[in-house]
Amino acid sequence: MTEEIIIAGFGGQGVLSMGKILAYSGIMQNKEVSWMPSYGPEMRGGTANVTVIVSDERISSPVLNKYDTAIILNQQSMDKFECSVKAGGYLIYDGNGITRHPDRKDINIYRIDAADEASKMGMTKVFNMLVLGGYLKLKPIVSGEFIHKGLEKSLPKRHHGMIPENEKAVEIGKDLIYPIHVL
């Protein structure tokens, strides 16, 4: 199993930390992982993205131009990465602020309105965990037990009190995701 993912959105949405939690969970489940962030000028312009690879085998390139799954959280990222999903792959997006919806017919498209739900629930801090939950519903590459361990490893000890809230968000996210176009 090799899963190549891009997570892309605005800075502050928790894009990088979502990737880190997923990667750490992978390590806890004894998988190979890589996490390659954008750190360049585009980051300083407000957008953020990270390439995460989780695999049973040694990972070759940490830098990719095609992905099994793209998790897209703003319009700029939609414009940039919709075309980078491999044929037959998955595109997951949050509808908030999206003006041009994805229209490819050769990939699976799912939507999750996590931003709306997070603000309704007053849980904006765990927005990214709602999205991660939605992703894991489609691609259960790491199990809940290891997500817990990944959270323990990723979050500094002083924030460990927030782990239950994060785990709850992952569970809620699983129910929020819905198909738009499925092959």
Partner: protein, 361 residues
């Protein structure tokens, strides 16, 4: 069991230095390697192992602090990125001239000039052919993973003290900024003063004792005959490195008809290109130099008898390709594919260039 962590390359290199028993780090912040100094300041090794961590007033100061510490037989190191490494060149040349051990980490960014903060390999010439003035060589290690970032610190110190020569770890923003699983080495205690006297007392300024002459650390030898003798002595070290320290890795070369040659992060990307090309029925392998100096000339020369052509892939306009061509010596076609200015080649375009430049069609 060894400790497993998810770390950035920059963090791994900093943690590895603490664990390797380094005595001092002297640096100055610059993207994309500032996490090294930040990590060390957060970890405060000066409170545990006693390792000094100091943000110098400039890169020039930092390299000269390494010079000072190394003169006393201490394990010292510094890090920077391209423009900062250029500033350090005078000090690096002085260290080579004075035969001082130490590690210089260059997390390369796009240039020339201030360039960009994005990854690049455009400092290959600077690292392997001199950089500073005079006849000298650095032993240059090129890690291709976060694990190797951690592993090359203890290795680098071993080699630096073995040859009494500065070692450069040449990496880039991809390896520095990415996180991977890393198995951290056990803690090695810092050398005691007695151990330093025992190991390096014949050259280091450890304090004069009545039974020996003063040890003087200097690169100034005004007498030309003596200077030539000194440079010839340095040359013997470089020959010994060329004989004993060449390191490289091959990937699917056994039946290869074509060869990719790449180092560092680009070699990782090329591994994927090998998989893509092989899925299309193209028998291609990869040779990754791990030491850029000494360069794996002989294995590349030998592969030239096996393959029909080579593509050298670099994040620059064509630097290592010159060393590959020298190794191949005209036996087969050697072409270059490079991205520069902070652009990273993707696995597909490497395959495309292999086909268009080497295989034909």
């Amino acid at each position: 069991m060894k400790e497993l962590r998810l770390m950035k390359g920059n963090e791994a290199i900093a943690e590895a230095a603490i664990r390797a028993g380094a005595d001092g780090y002297f640096g100055y912040p610059i993207t994309p390697q500032s996490e090294i100094l930040e990590y060390l300041m957060a970890e405060k090794p000066y409170e545990t192992t006693g390792m000094v961590v100091l943000q110098a007033e400039s890169e020039v100061a930092a390299i000269n602090m390494v010079y000072g510490g190394a003169s006393c037989g201490k394990k010292c190191w510094t890090s920077s990125s391209s423009p900062g490494i250029s500033l350090k060149q005078e000090g690096i040349s002085y260290m080579a001239g004075s035969e001082l051990p130490g590690i210089i980490v260059n997390v390369v960014r796009g240039g020339p000039g201030l360039g960009t903060i994005q990854p690049s390999q455009a400092d290959y010439f600077q690292a392997t052919k001199g950089g500073g003035h005079g006849d000298y060589r650095l032993l240059v290690l090129a890690p291709a993973s976060v694990q190797e970032m951690a592993d090359f610190i203890p290795l680098g110190f071993d080699l630096a003290f073995k040859y009494r020569n500065p070692v450069m770890i040449l990496t880039d923003g991809v390896i520095g900024q990415m996180m991977e699983k890393v198995e951290l080495p056990e803690f090695t205690p810092r050398w005691t003063e007695e151990e330093i006297v025992k190991m390096s007392g014949d050259w280091a300024t450890t304090g004069k004792t009545p039974d020996r002459e003063r040890n003087i650390i200097s690169s100034l030898i005004l007498d030309s005959a003596k200077q030539e003798k000194h440079v010839k002595k340095l040359e013997l070290k470089y020959k010994a490195m060329e004989a004993d320290e060449v390191r490289y890795e091959t990937f699917q070369c056994e039946d290869a008809e074509y060869l990719l040659v790449a180092f560092g992060s680009t070699a990782r990307i090329c591994q994927k290109s090998v998989d893509i090309a092989r899925a299309k029925g193209i028998k291609v392998g990869l040779l990754r130099p791990i030491t850029l100096y000494p360069f794996p000339t002989i294995p590349i020369h030998e592969l030239a008898s096996q393959v029909k052509g080579m593509l050298v892939v670099e994040m620059n306009l064509g630097q290592m390709v010159e060393d590959v061509r020298l190794a191949v010596n005209g036996k087969v076609q050697v072409e270059h594919f490079g991205r520069c200015g902070g652009m990273i080649p993707n696995p597909d375009e490497i395959v495309k260039n292999l086909v268009s430049k080497i295989i034909g069609g």
